[in-house]
Symmetry: C2
Subunit: 208 residues, 2 copies
Amino acid sequence: MPVAQKRVSTTRPTKSRRTQIPLRDQIRDTARDLFAREGYESVSMRRIGAEIGCSPMAIYRHYENKEELLLSICEETFGRMIQLLDKTRQTPGTRLEVLRRCVQTIVDFHLSHPNHYKVTFMTVMPPGPVAERKVAIGQHAMDRLRLGVRECAEAKGIEVDVEMAAQIIRVAIHGLASSLITTSKCYPWKDPQRMKEEVIATVTRQFE
Amino acid sequence: MPVAQKRVSTTRPTKSRRTQIPLRDQIRDTARDLFAREGYESVSMRRIGAEIGCSPMAIYRHYENKEELLLSICEETFGRMIQLLDKTRQTPGTRLEVLRRCVQTIVDFHLSHPNHYKVTFMTVMPPGPVAERKVAIGQHAMDRLRLGVRECAEAKGIEVDVEMAAQIIRVAIHGLASSLITTSKCYPWKDPQRMKEEVIATVTRQFE
DNA sequence: CATTCTCTGTTTACGGTGTAAACATTTAAT
DNA sequence: ATTAAATGTTTACACCGTAAACAGAGAATG
C-alpha cells in the first residue's frame, strides 16, 4: 500500500482546488454518500469523479482501487466508534452503568450517521484479503466491548462467557441500528428511545 | 413479469438436458451457491451459464435479469421459512413454548442452510423496486412472528408492543444466525447450542 | 537562475459486465 | 404436414474497473 499518505512536504496545503479540503477526504465523503444512497456496486468510479469534478483516474492517486476506498470509509467509521468508546469508558459510574452508556453511545452514533452505518455494516465486501482486514479492524472495537463485559462480571463476582456476552451485545446493537435505520421511512416507530432502553436493559440484565 | 412460469403444457418433463431437473431450478441453485461463496456482484451471468453448461443468455429465458434471479432465491428462502413456521405453529404446547419452538426452528433452518441465509439476508440489493418487493415478502414471515407474540401476550394477559417485541426477536434471530455462520470458521464457538437457548430465553422472558 | 524530481492530475486503451436484438432449433398444437 | 410457441445461441453495445502513458505545477538542488 505505498500510496497516498506521503503528505510530508512543505507548505502547500490548499492549491486551487474548488475547496480547500483535501481531495482524499472529499473523495471518501462523496463516495460514502453515494454508496449509502445507491449501493456500493451500483456506484462507478466514473460517477464519483464526476460528482467531485475530477477525472475518474484521479481517485487512484489517493486510493489503490475501489475496494480500498470502501475499506477506508469503514476504517474511519471504526476509528470514530473506538474514539467514542474510549471516551465513554472514562466517564464515572459503576461498571454496569458505563457498559450501558457505551452501548447507548454506539447506537446513537449509528442513528445519527446512517450513511456511515449503511456503508460500514450493511455493505458486503467481496470475500478476500481486504474484507479480512475490515474484520480485523472491527475486532479493535469488539475489544472494548469484551473489556466492559469482563469488568461487569468481575464487579458482580460472577463467571460469564465473555465472548458470548459481548457477541450478544454486538448483535443487539446491530439489530437495533439496522432496524431503526432501514425501516425509519416506512414504519413509524412508536418510541425508538424506549426500544433502545429496552434492548440495552435486556442484554445487560445479567450484570445487575 | 410475463416470463418463465408457463409450465402448464403437457407431458415433457425432462428432455435431454444434462440432468432432468428443470433448468430454471438448476439456475437458481447454482446461482445461490455462487452468490454465497463469491458474492452477488462478483458473480457474472456468464459465469453462472458456464457453470451450468448453457449460454449466458439462456438464463434470461427464465429470469428477467440478474436482480430478479436474486429475488427468486430470496422468495424461495422466505417460502420455506413460512412453511416451517406454519407447521411449527400447529405443534402442541403453550403459546410460549410454540413461539420459542418457532424461533428455534428458524435459527436451525438458517444454520443448516447457510447459503440460503447468506444470499437472502447478507446480500444487499441495489435500492429500487425489486428490493422493496423483497421487503414486502419478508413481512409475510414477520406476520407469523407478530401473531405468535400477540398470542403469548394474550395468554399471559399483559399488554405489549407487539411490533417491538417481534422486531427484537427478529433481530435476535439474525444476530444469532449471522454470528454463528460468519464466524464459524474463524472462531471456535464453545457452545452454540447453549448460546441459542440463552438468546431465545432472553428475548421471550417477558412472556414467562 | 536553470534543472531536475516528485506529486497530482489527465487521456487513452483493454478486457469484462449486464443485457437487448436477431436468429436457430426443438417440441407441441392444429 | 404445417404452424406456433418455447427455449436455446450468437452478436452487438454501452458501461465498468483500472493499467499505462503522458502533462504540468511546485519544491529541491545545482
